[in-house]
């Protein structure tokens, strides 16, 4: 019985580690609601979830067509697609789309 429990616990831990999914990139899409400073802004997703995004000097800024953009093009109300870096904390790439002024 003890052996069975030990093996089960081991397999459970092994399976958990397989699904840990650490170190991979994620993509978020939403509308910019707040720009705190040069290294942080908040976006709201379609599900009304708020997400604070950190940017660094390494963050790549692009327009929707893939061309390079400047960070200053980020404004409140703009739609963005954020690809997070492997650290899961800061953005690796931010695509800036349409903003309210464009409508």
């Amino acid at each position: 019985m003890k052996r069975f429990v030990a093996i089960s616990a081991f397999l459970l831990l092994a399976a958990t580690s397989l699904f840990a999914h650490a170190g991979h990139e994620h993509t978020y899409m939403g509308t910019v609601t707040v720009i705190n400073n040069n290294t942080e802004f908040v976006l709201t997703t379609a599900e009304e979830q708020e997400l604070t995004v950190q940017t660094t000097a390494e963050t790549k800024w692009r327009r929707a067509d893939g061309h390079a953009a400047a960070q200053s093009e980020l404004v409140v109300g703009a739609r963005v697609v954020v690809k997070m870096g492997k650290d899961g904390k800061s953005a690796a790439e931010i695509k800036i789309g349409s903003s309210p002024a464009a409508h």
Binding site: H21, H24, E25, H26, T27, Y28, M29, G30, T45, A46, E47, Q49, L51, R62, A64, D65, G66, H67, A68, R79, V80, V81, K83, K95, I96, G97, S98, A102, H103
Partner: protein, 262 residues
């Protein structure tokens, strides 16, 4: 074979066997073991060969063997304890040896070759398209190797914009593309045809251009990178969302977090 000659050969063999036995006995004694020497034929050496001259190579060999044994033990213990991982950073020795091996693997006749394809805008465009299609997965469009695959290679995928690569000759770059590099993630892309060689020479031109790659060229490469149908769907959803499409049918994922394809 006549009688006297056969006898002479037999005597020579016997002398050689005797010398080998002497050498072996020297080894056993040097290790300090108490193994009795096996029964052997009567010692028969040249009179002018001192015994120490026979024992000396045995001592040296024994020391070398002992050192190798110690190194093997340390390596085995280290491996059993820590294992091997491609995530480790290659040691300096490994890097130096690998660089030397790569250098030697390319014949000097190939190493000294100049690019036979004349540089032109079209040639550079061909090289760029080829690189974006075949090489970006490991090297990245910018050639810096900072991709998921590139950063996990052992040895790491080199930054092609740095002098370590840019200082290689045209022939060396060509040979690496055509033949690959053993014990690394670099495959040989050549198939021995003229078309393959021409494509590789064009790539050599593009690799030379990598340090001066413009943002526009990078964007063009990203658009031409091979993508799966899922990638295309994701890009289309992103493009529609960024263009201000209906938010209700926006690409926002059901849980607001979409795993990036990797």
């Amino acid at each position: 074979m006549n009688g006297p000659e056969s006898s002479k050969r037999l005597r020579q063999c016997h002398e050689r066997y005797s010398q080998l036995l002497q050498f072996e006995v020297g080894l056993v004694h040097d290790r300090g073991t108490s193994i009795a020497p096996p029964a052997r034929p009567e010692k028969k050496m040249d009179d002018d060969t001192p015994e120490s001259a026979v024992r000396r190579p045995g001592l040296g060999t024994g020391v070398v063997c002992a050192l190798l044994l110690v190194c093997l033990c340390i390596l085995t213990m280290s491996t059993l304890r820590y294992g091997f991982s491609a995530r480790d950073k290659p040691t300096k020795i490994e890097s130096v040896v690998a660089s030397m091996a790569r250098h030697w693997s390319i014949p000097s006749s190939v190493r000294e070759r100049k690019n036979p394809v004349a540089l032109s805008r079209e040639v550079l465009a061909d090289g760029q398209a080829h690189f974006a299609d075949h090489c970006y997965l490991c090297h990245g469009n910018d050639g810096k190797g900072q991709t998921g695959m590139g950063k996990g290679m052992y040895p790491r995928t080199p930054d092609l914009t740095l002098p370590a690569t840019q200082s290689l000759s045209d022939g060396e770059l060509f040979a690496i593309i055509e033949n690959g590099v053993r014990m690394t993630g670099m495959p040989g892309f050549g198939d021995g045809t003229t078309a393959s060689a021409e494509a590789s020479w064009k790539l050599v031109h593009f690799i030379r251009h990598l340090p001066r790659l413009t943002p526009e060229e990078l964007a063009a490469m990203e658009r031409s990178n091979p993508k799966s149908s899922e990638d295309w769907e994701q890009l289309e959803r992103e493009a529609a969302f960024l263009a201000g499409g209906d938010e209700a049918s926006s690409p926002a994922p059901t849980n607001a977090v979409q795993p990036h394809h990797h």
